[in-house]
């Protein structure tokens, strides 16, 4: 196990370098976004003098390198500065909004895995059948409209016409749980409030599904196309000749070696949702980080942009490490490679 641990440590180490790189890059890029952050923050009616004062306070008059120095010095103390959008410390904003989005995208990610992969397996196993065609249409629907359109459609179907699911927010107004982790599914359980847990879970269904839809489609299609290839491999024929149950052949023998592309894409989709879920969050009034991220980008709220991008970046790094690791697990030949480098 020790080489694995060493590998993971090495990856984590380089991830830190990547994060520093990202912070510099985003620091520079964010400042290229058109608009004067002070002007935007102060609102349309502010005077030039007010704007100038704020610019000074934000060090915006100084060269970029000096600004970055300020940033790093503050960061060392765990301070990402104050958001001009919420007028609160960015760290406080992130701490409040990140769990909401994470909870949402984790559920969406699980849906991609638990719905997308099986659909792919089914359509590969029954390729050419009506089930395959149905799944194909269903999965392609997911890429024919953006997730927020699906969010709207789902809301209309299951909250407006057929009031089965809650419409907005994370928990019914009448319920309350003390915040511990910020993840309501966990906090409700910690509070021992099963009813609230059910309610929070119920709130998650539609937004998570709307978000997951495109990932489900990709996972299913990629799984299918790779499984179709794998089905031609001699070891599948061998498994068939031994009469292993067909479902089992599909699920174990053909599926696992075909998992690499779907896993890669699900991983990316999952991490990308942290930045891309904003419209779905908007539809379901989800107080999440994604919406916050977009709000601050559009307002050129520099501190908040850097803060959220670093979080997104960290998630990508973690997810990619996990995916690379999982793939090495799935395919022992990568892990146990004897090849000379």
């Amino acid at each position: 196990m020790s080489p694995v641990v060493r590998l993971v440590l090495k990856r984590l180490g380089t991830s830190l370098i990547v994060l520093i790189g990202v912070s510099m890059l985003i620091f520079a890029i964010a400042r290229v976004i058109p608009g004067d952050p002070a002007r935007i923050a102060l609102g349309p009616n502010a005077t030039a003098e007010q704007v100038e004062n704020l610019r000074l306070r934000l060090h915006l008059d100084q060269p970029l390198s000096v600004q970055y120095g300020h940033f790093i010095a503050d960061l060392a103390q765990g301070d990402l500065g104050v958001s001009l959008y919420t007028n609160r410390p960015v760290t406080q904003d992130i701490a409040q909004f990140l769990p909401a989005t994470l909870e949402l995208i984790i559920v969406a990610g699980l849906m991609m895995i638990l719905i997308g992969l099986p659909l792919g397996v089914i359509s590969a196993r029954y390729r050419g059948s009506w089930a395959d065609s149905t799944i194909r249409i269903f999965t392609l629907l997911g890429v024919s409209a953006p997730s927020f359109v699906w969010a709207v459609i789902l809301m209309l179907l299951f909250a407006y016409f057929l009031p089965l699911f809650p419409i907005a927010g994370r928990l019914a107004d009448s319920m309350t749980v003390p915040t511990v982790t910020g993840f309501l599914l966990i906090d409700t359980l910690l509070a021992g409030n099963i009813k609230a847990f059910g309610n929070a879970a119920w709130h998650l269904v539609l937004p998570a599904f709307a978000l997951a839809l495109s990932g489900i489609g990709q996972a299913a299609r990629l799984t299918r196309s790779n499984m179709v290839e794998t089905y031609d491999k001699p070891y599948i024929e061998m498994a068939e000749s031994y009469g292993f149950p067909e479902g089992r052949i599909a699920r174990r023998y053909a599926f696992r070696p075909s998992l690499i592309p779907s896993l890669t894409i699900i991983g990316l989709d999952f991490a990308a949702m942290l930045g891309n879920a904003f419209l779905v969050e908007a539809v379901f009034a989800w107080p999440g980080l994604s919406r916050y991220g977009v709000a601050v980008i559009l307002r050129k709220d520099l501190n908040a942009i850097v803060g959220t991008v670093l979080i997104i970046s960290a998630l990508f790094l973690i997810v990619n490490i996990v995916v690379d690791f999982l793939i090495a697990m799935i395919n022992p030949r990568i892990r146990l490679s004897q090849r000379a480098q």
Partner: protein, 513 residues
């Protein structure tokens, strides 16, 4: 979320597009105003159903030269229990000035405030400034003692002036107090039982002001009985469908208008005749129809000129602007630029989708004159950047502007005074001596008649030099469930002459659950 209370509790739920700014010193837009007027009190308030201002925290006031002296009520306590005194007024003013954010600019003519005694305050003005009383609706009074107890980190004696504290707590005397505030979700407020004017039983016990809800969400929420009042920013089609689902409409006619602004600093619209041609070619009636919800209600009412109906200097409601193609052709012929030689750049703000339709309307209208144009969508951030330089400012921009105090000065001065050029409100880059002179005069003359006359003259001048197409006067339309009654938004005799004041929750009535 809040702790659940007795079943009989009435909850009012409404939404606004932007996040409400809780700090009264920084409040600017609509949501901020709603919070401010309910959580804080001001010295004066707009009169209901008529122009002018009524005493509120102040019992009375008098002028002394340029100065204003206010006598305060003595029975007012903050939500914290601290009594409200002249000290608090002075503190609130100083804080506003010192932070220099929000609407502090309306007090630029005020040199300072001082407590004459515990219940008397004097505001010293540098020069005669007639809109001062109106400005006071933008000076919410903050609980000094409470704030001083909660100063955050910062330099100097006043440290951060309590900014950190006030961005998520309230320190007011208002009829509602803040229970919780999540900038991405909602602000929850509850009745203040000790309010100095008392809060009627019918007023909602709890208010949830939600932020940034999508049209579909609002619609679904209202249809499921989980929401009461929509924001005014819904597209007309959605409002229409809400009405079909049984919602009522509330309207607020405020001091604002939809302006189509022309860049006078750049050809071809540097030529007044070109501008006049466009103004005449624009199809005003169709514009209103585009924002119509029902036959009676629209999100705009016909414009009569530069100043919205109801303000000093406005033309009577009967003199509506109209399309006149003959005149347009005539003006165009006199323009020094040949329409075949330019292409107009019509911009619209990406965040306000309805503007796309106006852009298309203009494109079609101007095409009838033989003027080519291209449409450009710009996000707000980019727009505010572009307008800082006349050469980058589009030929045509579309802007909704509201008077922050209900006085024409705060509406017209930032738009048309030459010193104000280059902001999002003034992409015209207008430089007209006569307009400047009239704007300056308007803020110094004191009597209503003089002000009426001055602004009327200004209005005429602005019509003549046509820097703007005065498309329509704003009318905010809200869809609401039938559980609420909002007299200020449905009965003209109860309405306030100012944006956001209609949402004074203590004057709302909740019926049923």
């Amino acid at each position: 979320a809040t702790t659940g209370q007795a079943a009989a509790q009435t909850v009012l739920r409404l939404d606004e597009v932007a996040v409400g700014e809780l700090d009264p010193g920084k409040a600017t837009d609509y949501a901020d105003s709603i919070l401010m007027f309910n959580v804080y009190d001001t010295l004066v308030l707009p009169k209901q159903g008529e122009v002018g201002y009524a005493p509120h925290l102040a019992e009375s006031w008098e002028t002394e030269g340029n100065d204003f002296i206010f006598k305060l009520r003595q029975d007012v306590k903050f939500q914290s229990g601290n009594p409200l005194t002249a000290e608090d007024v002075v503190f609130s003013f100083d804080r506003m000035k010192e932070l220099g954010q929000g609407l502090s600019f309306v007090f630029t003519k005020v040199e300072g405030a001082e407590a004459v005694d515990e219940h008397t305050v004097r505001f010293r003005l540098s020069e005669p400034y007639s809109p001062f009383i109106a400005s006071l609706v933008r000076l919410p009074i903050v609980d000094k003692k409470l704030v001083m107890e909660n100063l955050g980190e910062g330099e100097g004696e006043m440290k951060d002036w309590g900014q950190a504290f006030l961005s998520s707590h309230s320190a007011g005397s208002g009829a509602y107090k803040v229970v919780s505030h999540n900038p991405q979700e909602e602000t929850v407020m509850e009745k203040n039982p000790d309010y100095f004017l008392g809060v009627p039983d019918k007023a909602p016990d709890q208010v949830r002001l939600r932020y940034s809800l999508e049209a579909t969400t609002v619609r679904t929420l209202i249809s499921q009985g989980e929401h009461d009042i929509s924001s005014q920013w819904l597209p007309p089609e959605v409002l229409k469908s809400l009405a079909a689902d049984g919602a009522q409409f509330l309207t607020e006619t405020g001091g604002g208008a939809f302006y189509i602004k022309m860049n006078t600093a750049k050809p071809p619209l540097d030529d007044v005749n070109c501008r006049r041609a466009l103004s005449a070619a624009y199809d005003y009636a169709t514009g209103i129809r585009m924002v119509a919800i029902t036959d009676e209600i629209a999100q705009g009412s016909p414009s009569t000129g530069a100043i919205p109906v109801g303000m000093y200097g406005a033309n009577p409601a009967s003199e509506v602007m109209q399309r006149d193609m003959e005149a347009a052709k005539k003006y165009l012929a006199e323009c020094k630029h040949d329409p075949s030689e330019f292409t107009l750049e019509i911009s619209w703000i990406g965040e306000v989708p309805i503007e796309e339709r106006f852009a298309l309307l203009m494109q079609a209208n101007f095409a009838e004159l033989g003027i080519k144009s291209e449409i450009r969508k710009v996000p707000w951030a980019l727009f505010t950047e572009q307008v800082t330089k006349p050469e980058n400012t589009p030929n045509i921009s579309q802007i909704f502007v509201n008077a922050v105090t209900g006085d024409p000065d705060t509406l017209m001065y930032p738009m048309y005074h030459s010193s104000a050029a280059g902001t999002w409100q003034s992409p015209e880059y207008l430089k007209d001596e006569k307009v400047d002179a009239l704007l300056e005069k308007g803020r110094t003359v004191m009597s209503d008649e003089e002000r009426e006359a001055t602004y009327s003259e200004l209005n005429d001048r602005l019509m003549e030099i046509a820097p703007t197409i005065y498309a329509y006067d704003r009318q905010s339309v809200f869809a609401a469930s039938n559980r609420v009654k909002v007299p200020a938004l449905s009965d003209p005799s109860k309405s306030f002459g100012m944006d956001g004041m209609g949402f004074t929750f203590r004057l709302m009535e909740m019926t049923g659950e």
